[in-house]
Amino acid sequence: VPADRKRVRGPEESQCPLLFLPPAAQTAEPREPRAGRGNGEVRPLFARCGLVSQAKGSSYLEAGNTKILCSVYGPREPERRDEAGVRSGRLLCDLRLAPFSCGKRGAWIQGSGERDLSLALSESLHPAVCLHRYPRAQIEVNVMVLENDGSVLAHAVTCASMALADAGIEMYDVVLGSALRQDGGASLVDPDLAEERGNWLAGYEENRGGVTLSLLPNLNQVSGLHADGELRADTLSAAVRTCMESCHKLYPVVQQAILRAVKRKAPPPEK
């Protein structure tokens, strides 16, 4: 591998200090039931639109400690030309985790996990955007996760759809994301990072897994569904229903944030 000359580089190898905890501290403590909120409750959501001055639209979202910033550029002239782009626009999504956003320091170069998240984000947003109104143009959605405390994909979807609305991109509906962690009998909505990772150390019981769903609330269409783990079919359906419900809970917050930005940008037009 040729040396990366485009960055200031540190030593060849370095380790996260958490790997050197004394053995006593390393054993996983039994997980307590989530503090401060019920299993079906989402974390308080803080959302603002229009913070990035250079972008056509932007939004910032905080759910617990998960912090996400998104900016939207375009519609603008595409860099790559192909036939598909002539009649309808292209939606490009890029999701990055800041190097300091996770417990372990992340790499500078986008990893396959981030590429997978970018693809999932793109597939979840696509059905909502009226791309046929933007022939020969591309719309860029850039998402930066500043701090990852679980349910990143779900919140990235919500955040990105707010930024698209803020950018005045025509959409059929807003997109709301919601995540759920199934741990045996417990369904934890909007899991934090510890809850998300909980199951791997928890043992070998069945019916554990994660579900992330994106919903177009007004059209009642599911634009994204991702699940992994090991779920019974009935649990999966129940999880999908629960996720849809918690998406609806987000709607007023998202609506308020978008409208506040509309009002700030311009007073009501003369009749």
Partner: protein, 277 residues
């Protein structure tokens, strides 16, 4: 008509303001944009800060990791500063490896750290030739509206002041490092460099804290870094038109004043952050 003039003939548009000793955003030539600071907001980082100079927003997160000291300096640790200008912050940046501007900024920050000795690298050594700290300082621009260098240095300084690293000992029996996260210490900040950037219009008119548009229209851009002892730590003038000695002196004098303001800001925010905890 004004909007049309602005897009079609941006340079003329700016000149028309400078003639009247003011700028399109209503500032005077020597006026900085309002600067705000937020410290310690990223829980996953060992130290963090976010600064806003006008619209320009830059965040710095510091992650401390353990490594073996460099072989040519066995009693030192590492500081690894990198500036990222992601496509998120402006339409002028493309995804992919760092562009020229980001590379130059990273190198400039590294030079400032080395030149001013913000932190003594010896302080990062845990055991000679065996174990030391690596401070990864990732500085990321979230909104690019000019003068990122000033913002980078302020956020870096504030984040370093916010950083806490756990106590590390080497177990004599196993010869392995042991980390005690219960006991953390702040870093020893040795010097407080602060930078001030200027843009030169038409080879003569000097303005401070340029916006992105002013930067792109200016004939030359200058950054001066001074520390609390009014010492010049770094001076950055990448090409462009030449400048008289008096103008340069003027820049440095203004930088000294700016240092006082920024120093006060950092102290004030640190105080209030502590108080709120």
């Amino acid at each position: 008509m004004a909007a049309g003039f602005k897009t079609a003939e941006p340079l003329e548009y700016h000149r028309s303001f400078l003639k009247e000793n003011c700028r399109p955003d209503g500032r005077e030539l020597g006026e900085f944009r309002p600067t705000t600071l937020n410290i310690g907001s990223i829980g996953t980082a060992d130290g963090s800060a976010m600064v806003k100079i006008g619209n320009t927003t830059v965040i710095c997160g510091i992650k401390a990791e353990l490594s073996a000291p460099p072989s040519d300096a066995p009693d030192k640790g590492y500081i690894v500063p990198n500036v990222d200008l992601p496509p998120l912050c402006s339409s002028r940046f493309r995804p992919g490896p760092p562009g020229e501007q980001a590379q130059a900024a990273s190198q400039f920050i590294a030079d400032v750290i080395d030149g001013s000795k913000i932190i003594k690298k010896e302080d990062l050594c845990i055991e000679k030739s065996k174990l030391c700290w690596v401070l990864y300082c990732d500085i990321m621009c979230l909104d690019y509206d000019g003068n990122v260098l000033d913002a980078c240095i302020i956020t870096l300084l504030a984040a370093l002041k916010n950083t806490q690293i756990p106590k590390v000992t080497i177990n004599k029996e196993t010869d392995l490092a042991e980390v005690d996260i219960e006991h953390k210490r702040h870093l020893q900040i040795n010097k407080h460099p602060v930078s001030s950037s200027f843009a030169v219009f038409d080879d003569t008119v000097l303005i401070v804290d340029p916006t992105a548009e002013e930067e792109s229209l200016a004939t030359s851009v200058i950054t001066a870094v001074v520390d609390e002892d009014d010492q010049l730590c770094a001076f950055h003038k990448p090409g462009g038109s030449s400048l008289s000695a008096e103008k340069l002196q003027d820049c440095i004098t203004r930088s000294v004043t700016r240092h006082r303001e920024v120093g006060k800001l950092i102290d004030k925010v640190l105080e209030s952050t502590k108080a709120s905890k």
